[in-house]
Symmetry: C2
Subunit: 160 residues, 2 copies
């Protein structure tokens, strides 16, 4: 007997959730989050990945926070001199967010240490092939769009 497809989907999702929770707890327990919390690091990392300035709502896509919470988190990071907020000249409603020198430095410092822990946890548990599979699967899951009204795909973020 074969598991139904939807059951398989749910069990694999639960497996992802369990892995996520277990590793997040493990990473959170590491003594590297004194200057920058994990959620703050998430924002700094997202900013560091982008070339130029990002808009707040773009940042919100990658971060699991409500818009007001993200707005205030960025405000706090700006007050601490890690993030720079400037009005967007092309859209009077928007902000352009970028890392300051201090923010980039903090991201690099914490990121380097965190990467060590991630590498230990993941590389110890998985083979190279499994890591490649996970990378591919994650991309597909993240790329899958919700059943939407507009079916026009954005060219640059097309699903691979």
């Amino acid at each position: 007997m074969t598991r139904s497809r939807s059951r398989l989907a749910n069990e694999s999702w639960e497996s992802l959730l369990t892995a996520h929770a277990a590793l997040m707890k493990r990473f959170a327990a590491e003594p590297i989050w004194d200057e920058v919390s994990m959620r703050e690091y998430d924002v700094l990392y997202t900013l560091s990945k982008h070339e130029g300035p990002i808009r707040l709502f773009e940042l919100g896509r990658g971060v699991l926070l409500s818009q007001p919470a993200l707005s205030r988190l960025v405000e706090r990071l700006a007050e601490r001199g890690l993030v720079e907020r400037t009005p967007d000249p092309e859209d009077g409603r928007g902000l352009r967010l970028g890392l300051t020198a201090a923010g980039r430095e903090a991201q690099r410092l914490v990121g380097g240490r965190h990467a060590v822990d991630v590498a230990r946890a993941v590389a110890d548990a998985l083979t190279d092939e499994e890591m490649r599979q996970l990378e591919s699967i994650g991309r597909k899951l993240a790329g899958a769009r919700a059943p939407a009204q507009k079916s026009v795909p954005t060219s640059e973020e097309a699903v691979l």
Copy 2:
């Protein structure tokens, strides 16, 4: 050129994180969390998976919350009649947690609807083989135990 193993590990972890955030946002947007929030459902689901009563700290392993936060979340669920808390006869410090009939009913109701959304999202994005791979990979990641003793901190730059 081949990616280093630790770099591959970090990129696959980031892929998992991105998928997790994207799908969580999508699920959170579904109109099924009126009676029970997502985090509350997480607790109800964990309780429903177990046979008998669980201890609070066991519950905490699967849920991404601090001990005080979990303690109060369970307290609120108990006040709403969804969870039953009784002192553990075998350990005077501990609690035995279990679902009430109403709690089991709420879990079934919300869980059924949620499973539909999960199945749609995951099964649409992945093949059967990929779902099986994800299930296996997640289990390995969650099962991997942290090293019993911390080794000497390594240089950050050497890893990537």
